[in-house]
Structures are given as structure tokens and as C-alpha cells.
């Protein structure tokens, strides 16, 4: 369950930064991304998938959250 900092890039897209690994990826898709909640399964541009229980109301970015890796 790594801590991940989510922040916006200049184009308004979301970035996924794992401080421990010094890895930064762009988020390709988020399962729930609405005015009520944010989270669920998150897919990165490198194809890896991560999970977080949906947060409601959506958090303000940048923020650090804990994600689980989705296997398979």
C-alpha cells in the first residue's frame, strides 16, 4: 500500500507520484471522478492499475493517498 501523491500537471491532467520509488506517471483513467466522489480503480499510462476506496467529497489536489496495486 504505497503512499501516492496525486497532483495536477500544467494541462490539468492528474499525475501519480510514488515518493518511495521516485516514480511519476500520468493517470489515464479514474473509475469514479465526479462532483460526489473520486477514486475506485485508477489506470496509469504505463498500463498498471491501482485501487483506492472512493473518497467523498473528492479531495483537493495535490494530496497524498494510499493506494493498493490491482493484480493481473
Amino acid at each position: 500500500m504505497p503512499s501516492v501523491m496525486i497532483r495536477r500537471n500544467d494541462d490539468g491532467g492528474l499525475l501519480f507520484y510514488v515518493a518511495k520509488k521516485d516514480m511519476e506517471e500520468t493517470i489515464a483513467a479514474v473509475e469514479h471522478d465526479s462532483a460526489e466522489q473520486w477514486g475506485g480503480e485508477v489506470e496509469l499510462t504505463d498500463g498498471s492499475r491501482w485501487y483506492i476506496d472512493p473518497i467523498s467529497p473528492p479531495p483537493a489536489f495535490p494530496t497524498t493517498l494510499r493506494f493498493k496495486r490491482v493484480e493481473g
Binding site: 497532483r7 500544467d10 516514480m23
Partner: protein
């Protein structure tokens, strides 16, 4: 010099790798690549931030070097203790030329060297008592120091000293920041982790110190410069430019920086990051905790300076934007004269770089302004995100090399025969003896500053005097020269 095609460059890499045993070959192959600017993710072509191969010549440093030498070292009003045996500090002293103003030994300590000089008994019985005593001694001898950092060398982590407890106690006693930094050399694969650890120490021990104090008067134009090390005075022309466009530089860090400036960083409106590699951790924290946005900029060469000034100004109002245009215009005559003078002498010359931090990509623009072309570049301790940023700056089919070994670099150079190499002191004499002009690009070969428009004039002059130095035509010993060489040399000197 021959420009390599993509196939030739690939073949060159294969040929160079041939001498290695299979396992090493497999590993090193991942670190060498031919650039393809259309790729947007560097990890598809190059691997970085991995442990170096045993047995090869690498020029990386350790985590202690990254923290003591790079991030903390230039903070001039603090005393940085190299905590452990004497060697780490002694052998690394004074290499980086971080210029500063102040009275050394009174209120500034940049070029001084402090160590706890561990002896056998400190290793056996622990060195915490010694550290305690040492800090009191420092306070007596240098009462105007504004803080102390404890930079751990390898043994500290091995013997399990509690430097945090000592630092806390002494910090209270002296009412100054005493910062323990767990940057033991064995951590991580290069100095890069030292930067990270040093950033975290600044976050945990310095930044929050004025959180509840609102006495500092703020303006909407407050910015800070982070990740500029003031090598040869770099930060001064950078600061000048930002002030000329109407911004107020509240803090500069670490070059010519102070603790009180660092404590003010959380109060700025925008964080300007020059060396992304070594301070991005701090920038991310500042954004998350204090909501301070950050952006990277590049003050090498007029093209990149203008681009950066416009990008910075775009974050502010129209006055600042108009100022930026005015400043660019104001310097136009100056930099155009530099280009007019040096470009004809440097046009078309090829450059290979192998340095660290931001330079392998940031100086490309400055070379291009002079009509030169960077045909190979690489980092000692970069991560993927650095190569992401580099790929776009480099031309197609140029060479990229990560943590390159001494052997590989020599072989590349022998084939590519660039007109100039920019790398470190350990490479300098090898390549000079091969007859190739060389600039030591870690500390600007005892020159500088290179940032800003003023720095560009110096950069251009330095490159010219290196590349066009008459000594390169005198590489052959006189008694080895044939009669034909002789007469042509005579003609040239006449």
C-alpha cells in the same frame, strides 16, 4: 567528425558492449540508447537509477555527497558537520565553487570544513557524546552561525547512534535549528538519494519553523529560486533577471542561501525550480502542504531564457508580462552581439556531455544558440523523469547514456570524435590527451557564471577559447612530425 545514422549508432553501442561478460553486457545495454524524440516515455528506451556494475569505472557519488556536498553545503550561514571519520569531508571539500557573500568564519561558513573526526573508540562506544560536545564547541567558536546540520557518514548508520535525539536536545539548548541528516553513503545507488534525504530533512526540520509567525510582509510577486547552486555565481544573474521583470526573490536556495530564507520559502507565491532532480521532493511537499505551485525553468542561453521568462511571467499579471518582454528586448543587443561574435567560430561543432543534475539537458539550448550541436548526453544519477525531459531536447539518433562507464565513454568519443566534451575532472585529462577540447562542466572549469544573459557571454567565450585554442594543433611531439606537417605548421603560424 562524422554524424552517425541511427543504425551506426546502434552498431556502435553493440560494439562497445562486446567486451563485457554476458551478465554485465545485458545490464549495461539497458543504459545506452539511441535517441528517438518521438518517444514520450523514456523508460521504453533507457533504464536509470540502478546500482552500478561492480568492476566498472563509474563517476557517481554517495548519498552523503548528495546531501553534504550538494543540497546542504551551500547554505552559507549554517555549519555542516561531516559526522564520522575525517576522510569523507576532507576529500570532498571545496569542489563545487558555490560562491557566496559574507565573512567566512564569522557569519558564513561555506568554504570551511567541520568534522567530528571519529576514532576507534567512537565507533566502539558510540559518538553521541562527542557530537553533543562538538555542537557546544561550535557555538562557542562561531556564535553567529544560524544553524547546524549533522551530515551522517557511513559508520553512523552502522553503529546505531541516535543523532536525532542529540540534535533535538542541542537545538532546544541553542535555540537554533540543529538538523540531523541520515545521508549515510551506503543508502541508495548514487548521490541522488542523498538529495532526497536532504530535502526531507529540510521539510522536517526547517520549513515549518515560521508557520505560525505572520510578521513577514508578503507581496503578490514573491517567488523563491530553488535548486540553483550558485556555481561560479550562477544565481546572481538569475536573480537579477527575475527582479528586473518585477518579481521579488524572497529566498534562494541552496546557493548563497541562508536558513532564514529557507524558513520563508513557505510564504512565497511561486517556487521556481532550476535543478529538478535535486529539489523536486521539496517542491512537491511545498505544493501539497502550502499550496505553492512550482515550475521548472532554464536560464542557459537566450532562447531558453526568453522562453522561461515568458513562462514565469504568464503566472503573474500583465505588468509582469510586459516587463518580461521589455527585459528580453533590453538584452537583445547584448546577446545578439555575443552570438554574432562567437557563432561563426563555433558553428556546426559537435558536443558530447556527461554530467549530472540538470546540465545534460539544460545547456543544450545554449549550445544551439551558438550553432553547436549536442550529439550525445548522459547523466550520472538521473531517474526516468529526467530522461523524459531530455529526449525532447535531443536530436534524432543522438546518443543517450546513463551512468556511463569510463571505458564506454572513451569508446564513444573515439568513434564520434566530437569537437568538445563537457564532463567532470576525472574525464578531463583523458580526453585532453586524446586531443579533444574539454570543458569541466561541474564547476564550469573554474569560470562562470553561466546563467542569465550575462552568464551567456561568459559561456560563449569559454566554449570558443576551448574549442579554438591553438594548442589542439600541437598535439604531436615535434620529433614525430614529418617534414610535410612541419611546413604546413609553419604556414599556419606565419
Amino acid at each position: 567528425m562524422a554524424t552517425l545514422s541511427r543504425e551506426e549508432a546502434q552498431a556502435l553501442i553493440q560494439e562497445v558492449l562486446e567486451v563485457y561478460p554476458d551478465k554485465a553486457k545485458k545490464d549495461r545495454a539497458k543504459h545506452l540508447a539511441v535517441n528517438d524524440p518521438s518517444i514520450d516515455q523514456s523508460k521504453k528506451c533507457i533504464t536509470s537509477n540502478r546500482k552500478s556494475q561492480p568492476g566498472v569505472m563509474t563517476i557517481r557519488g554517495c548519498a552523503y555527497a548528495g546531501s553534504r556536498g550538494v543540497v546542504w553545503g551551500p547554505v552559507k550561514d549554517m555549519i555542516h558537520i561531516s559526522h564520522g571519520p575525517v576522510g569523507c569531508g576532507q576529500y570532498s571539500r571545496g569542489g563545487r565553487r558555490n560562491y557566496y557573500v559574507g565573512l567566512t568564519g564569522v557569519n558564513s561558513f561555506g568554504t570551511m570544513n567541520f568534522t567530528s573526526d571519529f576514532q576507534e573508540r567512537d565507533i566502539v562506544f558510540g559518538g553521541d557524546k562527542k557530537l553533543d560536545k562538538l555542537i557546544s564547541e561550535i557555538e562557542t567558536l562561531f556564535p553567529l552561525s544560524k544553524g547546524i546540520s549533522v551530515q551522517s557518514e557511513c559508520p553512523i548508520g552502522l553503529i546505531g547512534d541516535d543523532i536525532e535525539a542529540v540534535s533535538k536536545k542541542k537545538g532546544k539548548e541553542l535555540n537554533k535549528p540543529v538538523v540531523p541528516v541520515r545521508c549515510e553513503g551506503f543508502r541508495g545507488v548514487s548521490q541522488s538519494l542523498g538529495h532526497h534525504i536532504a530535502n526531507d530533512a529540510i521539510r522536517d526540520w526547517v520549513l515549518h519553523r515560521r508557520d505560525t509567525d505572520n510578521s513577514f510582509e508578503q507581496t503578490p510577486y514573491d517567488v523563491c529560486i530553488t535548486g540553483d547552486y550558485n556555481i561560479g555565481g550562477d544565481i546572481w544573474p538569475s536573480r537579477l533577471l527575475l527582479e528586473e521583470i518585477g518579481l521579488r526573490v524572497v529566498a534562494q536556495m541552496p546557493g548563497d542561501g541562508t536558513v532564514s530564507e529557507m524558513e520563508l520559502i513557505p510564504k512565497v507565491k511561486l517556487n521556481l525550480v532550476h535543478c529538478y532532480r535535486s529539489v523536486n521532493y521539496l517542491a512537491r511537499h511545498l505544493e501539497e502542504k502550502y499550496g505553492i505551485p512550482w515550475m521548472e525553468y532554464n536560464f542557459f542561453g537566450p532562447t531558453k531564457i526568453a522562453e522561461s521568462l515568458r513562462k514565469i511571467a504568464a503566472r503573474f499579471d500583465e505588468t509582469i508580462q510586459a516587463n518580461a518582454e521589455r527585459v528580453i528586448e533590453q538584452y537583445r543587443a547584448q546577446y545578439e552581439a555575443v552570438i554574432a561574435k562567437y557563432r561563426p567560430r563555433l558553428e556546426g561543432r559537435k558536443v558530447m556531455l556527461y554530467v549530472g543534475g540538470l546540465r545534460p539537458r539544460h545547456v543544450i539550448g545554449a549550445y544551439e544558440d551558438l550553432g553547436m550541436e549536442v550529439v550525445g548526453t548522459g547523466y550520472e544519477f538521473a531517474h526516468n523523469d529526467d530522461y523524459d525531459r531530455t529526449i525532447k531536447e535531443m536530436g534524432d539518433a543522438t546518443l543517450l547514456y546513463d551512468d556511463i562507464t569510463g571505458y564506454e565513454l572513451e569508446e564513444f568519443v573515439k568513434r564520434v570524435r566530437p569537437d568538445l566534451i563537457g564532463s567532470g575532472i576525472k574525464e578531463k585529462y583523458i580526453f585532453q590527451k586524446m586531443g579533444i577540447p574539454f570543458r569541466q562542466m561541474h564547476s564550469w572549469d573554474y569560470s562562470g557564471p553561466y546563467h542569465g544573459y550575462d552568464g551567456f557571454s561568459i559561456f560563449a567565450r569559454d566554449m570558443d577559447m576551448t574549442v579554438n585554442n591553438p594548442c589542439w594543433s600541437m598535439m604531436q611531439a615535434p620529433w614525430l612530425k614529418s617534414a610535410a606537417d612541419d611546413s604546413s605548421a609553419m604556414a599556419a603560424s606565419a
